[in-house]
């Protein structure tokens, strides 16, 4: 995964804050934000995750003319032999197990970020509820238009052997 040009925009921050139910004016009201310590609109703490919008190859976004695994006429747009006792988590690209952010500063409209992702550790664990769990870690460094490191993100994904239901 590589993020070439993640332009941080005020309207995107507003929509993202709305989606997590945060109506704090620091995320949408420039006049209010100008009078705060931050001095301008800033992005909420998990906003860097929306970098997915700017990853041209992001596999969890439908692309015009390409097969998509979500439903249309059929329950999935991708024909695949179902493995015996196969993992459903794998069909969906696994589940998100952990996410960590380190903020060197907070993002604001006008920032243009690049993100570089490095593979981290991987490990396995047995779980009564979900069978064998395969964990893998990725680290993404977000740098701003001046090349300064602004956010370090560490994500851990897990692929489960069995479905985790209610």
């Amino acid at each position: 995964m590589a993020i070439d040009k993640f332009a941080v925009e005020a309207s995107h921050i507003m929509m993202f804050a709305r989606s997590v139910g945060d109506e704090n004016p620091i995320y949408h009201d420039a006049d209010y934000a100008a009078g705060t310590e931050a001095g301008s609109i800033i992005a909420p703490p998990t906003f860097a995750q929306a970098s997915a919008q700017f990853d041209p190859d992001y596999f969890l976004r439908p692309k015009t003319g390409k097969p998509w695994f979500g439903s249309g006429k059929e329950a999935t747009g991708i024909k695949k032999e179902k493995k015996e006792g196969g993992s459903s988590g794998a069909a969906a690209g696994g589940l998100h197990a952990e996410q960590h952010f380190e903020y060197h500063r907070h993002l604001k409209p006008g920032d243009v970020l690049t993100g570089t992702t490095f593979p981290g550790k991987s490990w396995e664990k047995e779980s009564k509820r979900a069978g064998k769990l395969k964990f893998s870690e990725t680290v993404t460094e977000y740098r701003d238009q001046n090349g300064e490191l602004v956010i370090t993100a560490r994500g851990v994904g897990v692929v489960t052997e069995k479905v985790i239901g209610t």
Partner: protein, 139 residues
């Protein structure tokens, strides 16, 4: 409003209801804003017939985002230096989530006062869905 070292002590807690009766529409909103269109979060037909789950479920990052609001409400805007979580249980439509932040340590680093916090989000049955920690600059 920002947090002051003199006003808090280790063991202090702050709780908020993060969402009541989570709607599928909010999950759709998060998919659109974040760019994570994994159909397990929004596509009932796919998630029940192909993926084998009972219904759609929230992005872990939606729960992390809602819990982030609890943190910034407590420490102030733009004050977090670290925020990390583990997704412990899935969050389903209809869930009501409550987050609690607890002061773990108040310390000084190169003349800057910092607070270390633990954060836990539970559902209406008291099951933990997210647990994590955060650090923030305080006055």
């Amino acid at each position: 409003m920002t947090l002051k070292a003199n006003d808090i002590k280790v063991g202090d807690t702050h709780s908020e209801v993060l969402v009541e009766d989570l709607k599928r529409t909010q999950i759709v909103q998060y998919a659109g804003a974040s760019g994570d269109y994994n159909p397990v979060h929004t596509d009932e037909k796919f998630v029940t017939e192909v993926a084998g789950y009972p219904t759609v479920f929230a992005h872990g990052m939606l729960t992390m985002g809602m819990t982030g609001k609890l943190l910034t409400n407590y420490v102030g805007d733009g004050r977090l230096t670290k925020y990390g979580v583990r997704f412990v249980n899935q969050v389903w439509p209809g869930d009501t989530l409550t987050g609690t932040v607890e002061v773990a340590e108040i310390r000084d680093e190169d003349g800057q006062k910092l607070v270390d916090l633990t954060v836990t989000t539970v559902n209406q049955d008291g099951a933990t869905v997210l647990s994590g920690n955060a650090t923030a600059r305080i006055d």
